[in-house]
Symmetry: C2
Amino acid sequence: MLYLIGLGLGDAKDITVKGLEAVRQCHRVYLEAYTSILTVGKEALEEFYGKELILADRETVEQEADNILKDADVCDVAFLVVGDPFGATTHSDLVLRAVKLGIPYKVIHNASIMSAVGCCGLQLYSFGETVSIVFWTDTWKPESFFDKIEKNRQNGMHTLCLLDIKVKEQSLENLMKGRKIYEPPRYMSVNQAAKQLLAIIQNRRLQGEESAITENTICVGLARVGAPDQKIASGTLEQMATVELGGPLHSLIVTGTLHPLELEMLQLFPIAGSSFEQHACQRTA
Amino acid sequence: MLYLIGLGLGDAKDITVKGLEAVRQCHRVYLEAYTSILTVGKEALEEFYGKELILADRETVEQEADNILKDADVCDVAFLVVGDPFGATTHSDLVLRAVKLGIPYKVIHNASIMSAVGCCGLQLYSFGETVSIVFWTDTWKPESFFDKIEKNRQNGMHTLCLLDIKVKEQSLENLMKGRKIYEPPRYMSVNQAAKQLLAIIQNRRLQGEESAITENTICVGLARVGAPDQKIASGTLEQMATVELGGPLHSLIVTGTLHPLELEMLQLFPIAGSSFEQHACQRTA
C-alpha cells in the first residue's frame, strides 16, 4: 500500500492520529521536501514519529518514482507531504504510476494552506482562482499572475497568492558546468510579493493603464499559518510592502469585495500604525 | 482559552495529535453539529477522546454563544468543527465575540472538504468560486448557484458544489404552532443535485437559452471524502443524475477546462458503463 499522508502546516503534532498510525506501520517513509516546509525540520519529525525519514526532493520524485514505489505491492510505503497531499501541489503523477503498477493507495488528508487561510476571517467561498507569485530575476519578470488577481477582484473574489519557494536550485554557472552545488533555499516573503505587485501597477500606470488593484487595495499577509508563532497582518498593498512577518512560509491575499463580517475579522489583525480602517471605511462606504 | 479544533472529514482518528491533546485538557468540549457530519456519531468521538461532548446546534451557537464562552478566560473550552473551523463555514461570530470578551483563542486546523476534494485529481488552483446547492421545494427553486457555476466554467474553472444539509428543521406546521418537533435530517445526494442542475438546463433551453453547462459536461461526484468507504465517480452530468454513492456527505464538482493530467486522474473513477471516455476525448480534441 502507498500512503499519501498530509502533515498539516505547523509542526510534528499536526499530523492526524490516523496518519501517525500509518507512518509508524510503514516500511519506508519519504518526506516530500520541495513544495513546502513545516516550522520544524526532519529530525523533529523523526523523533516524534519514531521513524527514519527519507528526504524526497523534486528529482527523486520525478525521476526515481519507481524507487519510491518499490515493493509497495507487498509492504507499506508512506509519502509525507506538508499540508494536504492534494493541496497546493497534487501528487497525481505518483498516484497514476502506483495505479499502473497495480499498487493500491490511500490518502490521509490534512489541513492545506488552500483552506487554512480562512483563519484570517475571509470566506473560502469568496476566493477565485489561486495564483503563484514567482521570484523575478533581472531578465524574467512575468506578470500573468497579476491579470488573474485583477480578474478575481473585478468579479468581487479574493485571491490567495502562494509565494515562490526555491529549494535545491543551482546557479546558472553550476548548472552549465554540471556541478551539483546548490544555492541556499529562498522563500518569498509577503513584502517581496507586495513589491512585485506594486511594480506591475506602476509599470502599467506609466503605460496609461489603471489597474483594478491599487496601492490602497486591502490585502492580508499570513506567515507560518497553524504554527504557534503564526502572524496575520491586514492593511493596504502599500503597507504589505514594508511589513515584516518573520520566517517562512508566507502567503498573501488580495481581497475582492469585503463582507462586513470579513472586514470585522480583518480588523483583528491591523498592521501597526495602519491607515487600514480609514481605507476600509472608504471601501464599504 | 477558546480552542477551535478541526476534526477532519472521516472518523474519530482524523483529529490531529495537537487537537486531541487540546480536547483532552479542556474543561468543556462542544461539538458543532449543524454544518457537517463525520461518518461516526458523537458516542464514538466521546469514547476515543475520553471526554463528554456537548452538542451545539445552530440555535446554541447563535443564541447561546455566551454560554459556550462562559469562564473561557479562566479555563479551557473546545469548540469542535467537522473539517476545518474556517473551512466551508467560518465561525467568525464566535471568534469575534470571544475577542470582545477578552478571551484568547487558538485555531487547530484540519482537512476541509474545500481542499480535500483535490483527491479526485482536479487541481485546487483551477477552482473558481464555491457554491452551495440547496434543496428545492415546490414553491422555491432558486437558480443563482447555476449562474456562478456557468461563469466559472466560461472562465475554464471547476466549481465545487457543497450540497444542502437539513438538520433540526421544523415542518411549517410545527414551526407555526411553536412545537419543537424536528424533521429527520436530510442530506442532498449527488444525484439529487445533478437532477436540479439538469432541470435548470432544460428550463433555460425551453426559453431558448443554451447554457455553458450541458448534459454532457464532465462532473465528479464525491461521497464521504476521507472515510475508508469514500466514493468518487466521474462522468457526465446526465450520468450523475443516476449514480448512487451511498450515505452522506456528498459533494459535486462541475469541471471547467480539463488539463490532460486531470483527465487521466478522473479516468481512475469512471461510472460503470460510462461513456465518459468518449465525451472526454471530444472535449480535449
